[in-house]
């Protein structure tokens, strides 16, 4: 999904005017990003690891 398309979809989803297909595509994309974000967060050191370093 192109970034401009994603931005337009975000507005439509928030305004409640997106079609079902658009909503699903958008939520899938956001969920995917958040999933990747969790992976990135987990790769960052924890407080405990920093204390030991």
């Amino acid at each position: 999904m192109e970034i401009e398309e994603l931005k337009k979809l975000a507005e439509k989803v928030k305004a409640g005017s997106a079609t079902n297909e658009e909503s699903i595509a958008y939520l899938d994309t956001v969920n995917g990003l958040l999933g990747e974000f969790i992976v990135a967060l987990r790769s960052m050191p924890t407080d405990e690891q920093l204390k030991q370093a």
């Binding site: 928030k14 939520l27 995917g32 990003l33 990747e36 974000f37 992976v39 967060l41 960052m44 407080d47």
Partner: protein, 304 residues
């Protein structure tokens, strides 16, 4: 066996006639229901596959929101063990306390900050797009959690990067190093690292590969039994012809029926986990009534 006498007596005469009225009302309602059911049955024959699919997709959307909530819960869990990303803490009484002076983890923050600035001073279009997408995800996620401040910050930074306004972006970035901004910081780190191309490619391939399974899982999560859910998904897949893959392709691509049984079990476990997590978070379960109503509307004659 004891026999009951339903005839009115002087003692229960009033009740009897009240019951009589109730029965009449019930009979009238049943007749109306019956007429309505006949209408529905007629209407049901006229429902297009597209309308049926629309109902299924509504279920999907609701299930996606639950996934969303679960992801946010996971993020919060990870944040708890990384307090160095915060410059504010909330006391037990709810008071926000600003942490003053450099902490021993300032180095970690500065390193990331410098890297972000370096990368974003002259970003490639993919990095730029990835950052914006990450910010939007963060903004939407926090909007979902009613944390307006973070959602607004995400939107602001997203616009500033889009417009190439580095000064404004740096300034806003400084202010996002707050407790609430940790999601934005993390998303930026991720976005810079990966670039949007790889993210969107991964998502696209996952979407295509799992479309059928996702629909099936959504139906299970919405309370459908396994057989019905599978047959509906199958029937839809056959109609559209888009989800099925040949046996040869199925060997090399994780799609369609590959590991169906295992994936079903995994999905059921995931649904269970999601529901438990939602319960812990105090988030309401699927609003089934809404979708029941949606179906009901679908079956009603158009002029009603």
């Amino acid at each position: 066996m004891e026999k009951f006498n339903f005839a009115p007596t002087p003692e229960n005469e009033n009740d009897y006639f009240k019951r009589g009225e109730g029965v009449e009302k019930l009979v009238t309602e049943m007749k109306e229901d019956s007429a309505r059911r006949e209408k529905y049955a007629e209407q049901l024959k006229k429902i297009s596959p597209e309308e049926g699919i629309e109902v299924l997709q509504n279920l999907d959307i609701n299930e996606k929101n639950i996934e969303f909530a679960l992801r946010m819960a996971e993020i919060e869990e990870e944040q708890k063990s990384r307090s160095y990303l915060k410059t504010e803490v909330t006391s037990d009484t709810g008071e926000v306390i600003r942490l003053s002076g450099p902490s021993k983890f300032e180095g970690v923050k500065k390193e990331f900050y410098d890297e972000a600035k370096r990368t974003l001073t002259n970003p490639s279009k993919y990095v730029k797009a990835a950052v914006i997408a990450g910010l939007m995800a963060s903004g939407l996620a926090y909007d979902f959690k009613n944390t307006a401040l973070v959602a607004e910050l995400a939107g602001t930074i997203s616009d500033q990067i889009t417009n190439g306004d580095h000064e404004a972006w740096f300034k806003t970035f400084d202010t996002t190093m707050l407790a609430e901004g940790v999601a934005i910081v993390g998303l930026l780190a991720l976005s810079i690292k990966n670039g949007v191309k790889s993210i969107s490619q991964t998502i696209k391939s996952k979407l295509v590969a799992n479309q059928k399974m996702q629909r099936y899982v959504s139906m299970l999560a919405a309370g459908g039994d396994e057989e019905t859910s599978k047959s509906v998904v199958d029937s839809e897949a056959n109609k559209n012809g888009g989800y099925e893959r040949s046996a040869d392709q199925a060997v090399t691509r994780t799609t369609g029926y590959d590991r169906w049984t295992e994936r079903t079990e995994e999905a059921k476990e995931q649904i269970k986990t999601v529901r438990e997590k939602l319960g812990e978070m105090g988030i309401e379960r699927i609003d089934r009534l809404k979708y029941t109503d949606k179906k009901k509307d679908l079956f009603l004659p158009k002029n009603e």
